[in-house]
């Protein structure tokens, strides 16, 4: 039992990382229906910016967070303006391929500038442990967990309750009609990308702090898992991203802890497919059959 609880904590903390990245995926998807395949790489970019800020500029960590989130937000916006905006009217697949291209570009761009070697994120926050009822808890685990829940709540509030959120949702449904209401569609999309990218940067730094390893391909696997998490919970739905993230984290950890690690990822995908078969648009997705 003790061990099970410990595994649950392990699962929730890794799930928190997936959730953080998945939030950005889902935001962007929710507004422009684009699978931003490069999101994992934006996450990686954010980790690098944060690391450089701390390592080369000796910034305190909170400042590094702010700088990395700002720089990465700008980076995300530039990507959107240059690569995605021209494709707003083309097919979804064309946009997906562009996103894949952007992903390659970021990976290899960072690789060229920073090299392929693995960096270790400076351990500026001491990794404190405390034991509660015999369970080992880690300060950073708690931070990641709390941040992902807090951000989820904030984002959900923004999207569902504010004027900006209404504008986002209208743009998601019908860009022209939104423009006719006075919404500056480009700005709304820009803000969405900025928020999504800033979130990715925050996730990047937290992962850097917690898992230490920073390298050009660090975005791929968490990005993919986060994408799966977003779909799992119902892509486009903010609480879904979080539920999906935690679910994937838990499944992975339980399979690794009690079954065979070898089949960890396979089990995640099998469960994903099973969920989709029962709920074709994810756990929280609405099963709308197209009205004819």
């Amino acid at each position: 039992m003790q061990q099970f609880l410990q595994q649950t904590i392990n699962g929730l903390s890794i799930g928190g990382v997936y959730a953080l990245i998945a939030l950005g995926y889902t935001m962007v998807y929710g507004i422009i229906k684009l699978i931003n395949f490069a999101h994992g790489d934006i996450f990686m970019f954010g980790a690098y910016v944060g690391m450089v800020a701390v390592m080369n500029f000796n910034m305190p960590i909170y400042l590094a967070f702010i700088i990395a989130m700002a720089v990465t937000a700008l980076f995300g916006v530039i990507i959107e303006r240059v690569a995605y905006k021209p494709l707003r009217k083309s097919t979804r697949t064309a946009a997906l391929i562009t996103a894949i291209g952007v992903s390659f570009l970021i990976q290899n761009g960072v690789l060229m500038i920073m090299g392929a070697n693995i960096y270790a994120f400076p351990q500026v926050i001491p990794n404190q442990f405390f034991t509660v009822f015999g369970l080992r808890l880690n300060m950073l685990q708690l931070v990641i967990f709390a941040t992902s829940i807090a951000l989820m709540i904030i984002l959900q509030f923004i999207v569902s309750k504010t004027k900006l959120g209404r504008a986002m949702r209208s743009v998601a449904v019908d860009k022209d009609a939104a423009a006719l209401m006075g919404v500056n569609v480009d700005n709304v999309i820009t803000i969405t990308f900025a928020i999504g990218s800033a979130l990715a940067a925050a996730a990047g730094i937290m992962v850097g702090l917690y898992y230490i390893k920073v390298f050009p391909f660090m975005g791929f696997t968490p990005g993919l898992k986060a994408f799966v998490a977003a779909v799992f919970g119902g892509i486009g739905i903010i609480p879904g991203a979080m539920i999906g993230g935690f679910a994937i984290g838990l499944i992975e950890t339980y399979v690794a802890g009690y079954g065979s690690t070898l089949y960890k990822d396979a089990v995640v995908f099998v469960i994903l497919i099973l969920i989709l078969l029962v709920k074709p648009s994810g756990l929280l997705g609405k099963n709308v059959k197209e009205k004819v």
């Binding site: 209404r166 949702r169 022209d176 009609a177 006719l180 006075g182």
Partner: protein, 234 residues
């Protein structure tokens, strides 16, 4: 109030509007009729900035608006009810109405106009927290019009508001247009239902394959034998 001169619009090789000139006077209802694909929707979309014309000019209250982005027009009082309702699904009825008032800052005024809308369309009030996409066609049309009214339009562009509606509702929609107009909003109305459109129009134009072929008061056109034959099924 609105003046369109020698407007030309192309979709690739298709020449959708050819030297179109129309004028809408303050306080009037101007109807635009024409068969399918004549270019009526294209004209409205060009006026509200969604399509860029190849040449020509559009002035609204004396100002050139061709270069103005579509999202800035509601502020100036020019509001467009698009073809096919285009209500925001996934948003509630209330939120749709709030979107109509997107650019307004006067909270009290918005509240007042909201009350007005709900008084005019009681059914919308009873559905205010419902996802707008689950409304029936007629209800959606009412919502689309109300949403536009929330922007306090001085000039309302309406694209086929009666399409797909039951006869009873068609009558009601035209009553509403008349009422809006009597309360001071100028209306440019595009309609397939030529009979009704001409009946309420102060002035009307006929658009055929991208060109204005006829203009006159509603009554004049109603009694024109050509119009009778083609557009009124007479």
């Amino acid at each position: 109030m609105l003046k369109v001169e020698n407007l030309n619009v192309h979709y690739g090789v298709i020449h959708a509007l050819k030297d179109v000139s129309i004028e809408v006077e303050q306080g009037k209802i101007v109807s635009l009729i024409g068969s399918n694909g004549a270019g009526k929707t294209t004209l409205l979309r060009t006026i509200s900035g969604l399509i860029k014309p190849t040449s020509g000019s559009i002035t609204f209250e004396g100002n050139d608006i061709i270069t103005v982005a579509p999202q800035q027009l509601p502020m100036r009082g020019l509001v467009h009810v698009p073809e096919g309702r285009r209500i925001f699904s996934g948003l509630t009825v209330m939120e749709n109405l709030q979107m109509g008032a997107y650019l307004r800052k006067d909270k009290a005024g918005i509240k007042e106009d909201l009350d007005k809308v709900f008084k005019r369309f009681e059914i919308l009030y009873s559905r205010r927290n419902q996802d707008a996409s689950t409304l029936s066609g007629g209800e959606q049309q009412m919502l689309a019009i109300s949403r536009a009214l929330m922007a306090k339009p001085r000039l309302l562009l309406m694209d086929e508001p009666s399409m797909g509606l039951a006869p009873l509702l068609v009558k009601e929609i035209f009553n509403i247009i008349r009422e809006i107009n009597s309360q001071g909003t100028t209306v440019l109305l595009v309609e397939q239902n030529a009979m009704q459109a001409l009946k309420i129009a102060d002035w009307a134009y006929v658009l055929e394959t991208g060109s204005i072929v006829l203009g006159g008061t509603g009554e004049e056109l109603l009694s024109s034998p050509e119009i009778q034959k083609v557009y009124l099924g007479g």
